[in-house]
Subunit: 332 residues, 2 copies
Amino acid sequence: MAEFRRDPIDGKWVIIAPERKRMLVEFKPEPYPSSERRCPFCPGNESLTPPELFAFRPPTTKPNQPGWRVRVIPNREPILRTELELEKEGIGSYDRVSGIGAHEVIIETPEHNQTYSQLSEEHLKEIYLAWKERVLDLKNDARIKYVLIFKNYGLSAGAVMAHPHSQLIALPISPKQIIEELRGGEEYFRFKERCIFCDIVRQELETKERVVFENARFLLICPWAPIFPFELWAVPKEHLSVFEESDDELLAELAQVIKFGMSQLEKTLGSFHFNLVLHNLPFYLSSSPGFHWHIEIMPRLTRVAGFEYGSGFYVNPVPPEESARWLRKGEK
Amino acid sequence: MAEFRRDPIDGKWVIIAPERKRMLVEFKPEPYPSSERRCPFCPGNESLTPPELFAFRPPTTKPNQPGWRVRVIPNREPILRTELELEKEGIGSYDRVSGIGAHEVIIETPEHNQTYSQLSEEHLKEIYLAWKERVLDLKNDARIKYVLIFKNYGLSAGAVMAHPHSQLIALPISPKQIIEELRGGEEYFRFKERCIFCDIVRQELETKERVVFENARFLLICPWAPIFPFELWAVPKEHLSVFEESDDELLAELAQVIKFGMSQLEKTLGSFHFNLVLHNLPFYLSSSPGFHWHIEIMPRLTRVAGFEYGSGFYVNPVPPEESARWLRKGEK
């Protein structure tokens, strides 16, 4: 029997409709077309990319030469550029802001065919440390209000390049979705004097129904109102709002939960396409009583239809209690 | 050069990034698989569907027999059902509402292979009259707060059935996207004492830059901040908030602009997949100083990636001034 569930943070409603499971079966992810071209993200081809901005590499190797483990470069065809002036303009009822910002690629591994779940915890930690370095650097630019970090894997998830990578887009505006989460958290705090994320952590640990994994610092859950089947959130147990304030030890714990989550998803779903998005505090705030930074992993097993765009309503055929049960065991 | 544009109604930001036009070229819509099964929406197969709720048919024909021009039936596998009780429940920090509502299919034509642009204006008007009839009927159920009407065409747009149809989902909750448009319109009205939609109509008619077509009652525009390339909105010129109050003459004018828009899209894009969504006033209001009901047509030429879900930011490689120029002429 279907039911409506409200996301307790941003207030969006999701229809959990177990009767619609055939939505899942009918969807087959398309593989990457095999390419004859040299991959610009592979070691040895560093000259095909713009010069690197950051890398984890042995001190004996030189920038833009092989030897790196994680490498950050500007996107060759950036959506946004730092060289522009920040201009804000009104045209009648309309508003426009110049396309300043940055668009970078985090090449996650030298291995072209490695999947995310094959990366070691140590390696994942270096990816998250690279994210942190880039956020800290971009925060020095007063025009930048938010740095959006995400990973698209697979054609169905919008990724065109097969080589494992995540992306970073630095924005002169805070994203609407993040603002809504912040507002939702603030409203909840005004009402209850408690943080909604802290409450979610507490409630999930009590019922365990939607918990997939936990370690000392993180909870890995199927959220109450997931917009996608098998959606997973990694949420810090403590009240931590600012991702770039994370220390090594915290990011090592993050790597552990993400590695576990990705491995279980793969065991349960087989090969699958996904988006992974870091939700972080915008730079105009240094803290918030109602927000935890967190990571959302969205497997792309269904097609998003007009219904969703027209309404902000999502239909999800898999209840999170069920996906959590499967993912805890890694079962099909 | 890219720029950020703010949707003047719901406040969402879109990046217009003309450099990213290759996003378009790489995307080929997948055709429907040919099916051996009998189509339940074709005339003669009426017994394969639940009994009809409404139809336009000659008085000499019987319900659930051939002869109809437009036929409305309950969805065989509805997401929501009217037979349930409306129950609202809090579980700790979480909220849940029972899945009451309705899910109907509007079979738009007896012809299995007819495209939307091949339907006559007279026929389109009957489809919109059928929508109106169903909304008026469902409005009698006090549990229903909103009726979402939409059309998915093509696999990329989430449609599984090839036979031309639109869908209706009656909800016990108002959709977030509509609430945001209403709130945006109300805020604008408080600030300026004018309706944002009326202002858009006025401004677009002055500049003509984004106008594709107009008739006595409607404006067909590429909106200022479209989330999809070649997105089209049909907006009443007058201040009309409630779709189901439309008279025959208004719906005939609507049919004319939609027919023009769909034909031009086909001339410009060739065969394409799309979503079409009616944005209407929720039932809890009888009028609004800041809202026009309207129709949004979203061709699906790009893949939506993680970036969009994580941020509410959309990247659109085609400026609406450019798509309007193409669509006015119907050029490739």
